[in-house]
Structures are given as structure tokens and as C-alpha cells.
């Protein structure tokens, strides 16, 4: 038998070792050995990477924070601006709704001429109920002109300057309006009060007043045009020996949240002062 040369023996040994390793790898037995050998290397790699990252951050983070702060400030400004615009848009939308309602009302009564005005203030004294509007004699507003909304009667112009006017509300304690009660076909007077409540007075005691009856201006006296809605009758009161009966009225206009009004400019109230004096 021919003796194997040392070189051939070496090749066979290497081949067997490689084959053995392959068999071990394929059977999965090598993973544990490889894992134990690689774990320290991975730890070293991780430690090194974290240190490198720390060094990189040391040089780069300050610049990023400054950039982020700038971006944050810019975004906050943008948010504030957008919120402001949103608020303005909502405000405009509300005003547009009010103006559309007033426009609808004005279109439904083409005989009258109207000037729309915004409410810019209220009287300083709690004893009187007046509002201040942003149109005056420059816009053709005169003392005595009736003021309405799409809901109903608000009051009348009491004082005028060039660019503003003061309106006496129907809730003012000094306000007295001649009215008619739609269903009962009778007349009476609507008076304001210091509390802002409105009441119906001077009604014939023989008339049956019912809750829900509509109260409209009668036009009597020439201070207001006729047939403007004031409110609905609630809680009629009649004492046995009273000369007149009275009732509380729920006004159709929300005087607390009054934002815009219409002034009827082609109505000329009758001036009784020469007759009285």
C-alpha cells in the first residue's frame, strides 16, 4: 500500500475539519459556540458606538436645540396667528349671519328704508336701558326713528351725534309704546322697567287675555310704525277691582345679546311737543 504523503494527509485533515464544522453548523450545534464568541464583540461594538454617538451629539445637539427653539417659536407664532384668524373668521361668520337675517327682514318689508348699525355700547347707568350704535346723523339717522331687528322692535333713536346714536330700548323704564294684541283684537300700552322686564298695561278688564297672544305696535300716537312685533303675552294679571288689567310680556328681541340693529329711516315720528308746550 502506497504511503500517503504528509501534504495529502494535511489536506484530508483540513477537509475533514471543514466538513465537521459544516455538519455542526448545519445541525445548529455551532450557534451556541459562535454566540458565546460573538457576544463580547457585540458588547464592545455597542459600547464604542454609544461613545461615538455621545461625541457626535456633543458637537451637533446645541445647534439642533437652537434650531428647534427657533422652529418652535415660529410654529407657536403661526398657531397664535391661525387661532386669531379662526376667531376673526368665526366673528365675521356670526356678524354675517346677523346681517343676512337683517337683510332678509329688510327685503320682506320693501316699503321701508333701513340703515344697519352695530351696537357699540350700553348706558353707564343701571337705571336706564339704552344702547349706543355706530351710525349717526352723517348716515341720515335722526331722533325718533324706530329701531328694529329681524325679530322685532328694539326701540327708538333718542340722541344723535355725527357718527353715533343712542337708542332707547323698549325695556327702558321711561319707554311707553301703544300696542295692539293680535288675538284679543284690543289695545294697550307696553312699558319697560328698571329690571329690564316688559309689561302690558292699560288693557280693558273685559277682554280675555291668553298666554301666547302676540303683541304688535299699533301705530297710535305716531311714534312707531304699526305691526312691528314686540313679544308674546305671558302671565296675565287681573285684580278684582282694578280699572285695567296687565300682563308680563316675553320680548322677541334678545336685548342681552343684541349685536346689530336696523334703523327705519323713512319713518317720520309725529312731534307733539308744540301742542304740549
Amino acid at each position: 500500500m502506497k504511503k500517503l504523503s504528509p501534504r495529502t494527509l494535511q489536506s484530508i485533515t483540513i477537509g475533514l475539519v471543514v466538513l465537521g464544522i459544516l455538519v455542526l453548523a448545519l445541525s445548529g450545534l455551532l450557534n451556541q459556540i459562535v454566540g458565546k464568541a460573538i457576544d463580547p464583540l457585540v458588547s464592545v461594538q455597542g459600547w464604542f458606538a454609544s461613545r461615538v454617538q455621545a461625541v457626535v451629539e456633543f458637537f451637533t445637539i446645541p445647534r439642533d436645540v437652537a434650531t428647534l427653539r427657533e422652529e418652535n417659536a415660529a410654529l407657536q407664532n403661526q398657531v397664535s396667528q391661525l387661532q386669531s384668524e379662526l376667531l376673526e373668521a368665526r366673528q365675521q361668520l356670526t356678524e354675517t349671519d346677523i346681517l343676512y337675517a337683517l337683510l332678509d327682514y329688510a327685503r320682506s318689508r320693501p316699503d321701508n328704508k333701513y340703515v344697519a348699525a352695530s351696537v357699540i355700547g350700553r348706558d353707564t347707568s343701571p337705571f336706564v336701558k339704552y344702547i349706543i350704535i355706530n351710525h349717526g346723523s352723517d348716515d341720515g339717522i335722526q331722533k325718533g326713528m324706530p329701531v328694529v331687528t329681524e325679530q322685532g322692535l328694539v326701540g327708538k333713536i333718542e340722541a344723535v351725534t355725527a357718527s353715533a346714536a343712542r337708542v332707547q330700548l323698549i325695556t327702558d323704564p321711561g319707554s311707553i309704546i301703544n300696542v295692539r294684541i293680535e288675538e284679543a283684537q284690543t289695545e294697550g300700552q307696553v312699558e319697560g322697567s328698571v329690571t329690564g322686564d316688559v309689561s302690558l298695561e292699560m288693557v280693558d278688564p273685559g277682554i280675555d287675555l291668553l298666554e301666547g297672544d302676540l303683541i304688535l305696535t299699533s301705530g297710535l300716537g305716531g311714534v312707531y310704525p304699526s305691526d312691528i312685533l314686540i313679544g308674546q303675552l305671558i302671565a296675565p294679571q287681573q285684580e278684582e277691582n282694578d280699572l285695567f288689567q296687565s300682563a308680563s310680556i316675553q320680548p322677541v328681541v334678545d336685548f342681552v345679546n343684541l349685536r346689530a340693529v336696523l334703523i327705519i329711516t323713512n319713518f317720520k315720528p309725529v312731534d307733539y311737543s308744540p301742542l304740549v308746550d
Binding site: G121, R122, D123, P126, V128, P173, S193
Partner: protein
């Protein structure tokens, strides 16, 4: 400086009164910011030209309000006079004086307004006026007296700084 600042400050006060303060109501009463300012301003010892502020405030409110013109003019002048009087003669505690003058002047201006309206023919019951307006207004004025006094004191100190001598 104080004279010139009277115009914008009174304007701002009337603006606040007509838009914001009169909507903060207790029953039917509300605070009178201008009156409180006038009282607090008159209680500041170092303030000069206080009467100009009083007249300006009276005219401004008389112009804006529907109440008779003489009511704010007389009442603000009366309130300022009372404040000056107690400031010079009675107590040395300004906060107490502020409260006292606020109560007296609030009742005075509301009762005077009530009487002037009744004389004009406006139908207001005394009990309704008292319960719904006079007492609530006085209470709200008392509530606002302290913050208004603090603001007025700072404003007066800024306009007329007092030199501290040892």
C-alpha cells in the same frame, strides 16, 4: 403729565364702563368704574389737578349716558369732595377711607339718579329701585373698590412720585 393723562384714562374708563362693566350685573345693578376711579384718585395725597379729572369724568359720562347731565357732574364732584374731606381730616387708613367713600358716594349717585328720573316722570318704584339697583350696585362697587384703589395708587405713584425723606 397728570393733566394730559386724564383725557385717555377717562376715555378708557368710560369705554370699559359702556362695554364691559355694565354687563357684569348683580340683579339689575352694576359697578360704576368711573366713580371708583374718581374716589380713589381723590384719596391720593400727592395727586394734583384732581378736580380736572372729576369735571372731565362728569362731562364724559353725562355725554354718553341718558341720565340727566347734572347727575354725574354733581355726584362725581360730591364724591371727590367727600374723599378730599376725609383724607384731610378724619383717618389715616386709605383703604378704610376708600370703602367708606365708595359706600356713601354709590348710594348718593344711585339715589340721586333715581330721584332725578322720577322727577322727569319715569315710573320706577322705590322698593324696586332700592332692591334691584341701589343695593346691588353699592355691593359691586365695594367689591371693585380694592382692585381699583390698587391700580389708582400705582398710577398716582408713577405720575407723582413721593420722595421718601428720612
Amino acid at each position: 403729565m397728570g393733566v394730559f393723562l386724564a383725557f385717555p384714562i377717562i376715555f378708557i374708563l368710560v369705554l370699559l364702563q359702556t362695554t364691559l362693566v355694565n354687563q357684569l350685573t348683580l340683579l339689575s345693578g352694576c359697578a360704576d368704574l368711573v366713580l371708583l376711579w374718581i374716589v380713589a384718585w381723590s384719596l391720593q395725597k400727592q395727586v394734583r389737578h384732581a378736580w380736572l379729572w372729576v369735571i372731565l369724568a362728569g362731562i364724559s359720562v353725562a355725554f354718553v349716558s341718558a341720565i340727566p347731565w347734572y347727575v354725574p357732574v354733581i355726584c362725581y364732584a360730591g364724591a371727590a369732595y367727600l374723599a378730599k374731606l376725609v383724607n384731610q381730616r378724619v383717618w389715616q387708613s386709605p383703604i378704610l377711607m376708600m370703602f367708606m367713600v365708595t359706600i356713601v358716594s354709590s348710594i348718593f349717585i344711585n339715589v340721586f339718579t333715581f330721584v332725578s328720573l322720577v322727577v322727569q316722570g319715569v315710573n320706577i318704584g322705590f322698593q324696586t329701585g332700592l332692591v334691584q339697583v341701589i343695593i346691588p350696585s353699592t355691593l359691586i362697587n365695594l367689591l371693585l373698590a380694592l382692585p381699583v384703589y390698587a391700580v389708582v395708587k400705582d398710577t398716582a405713584q408713577w405720575l407723582y412720585p413721593v420722595e421718601v425723606t428720612e
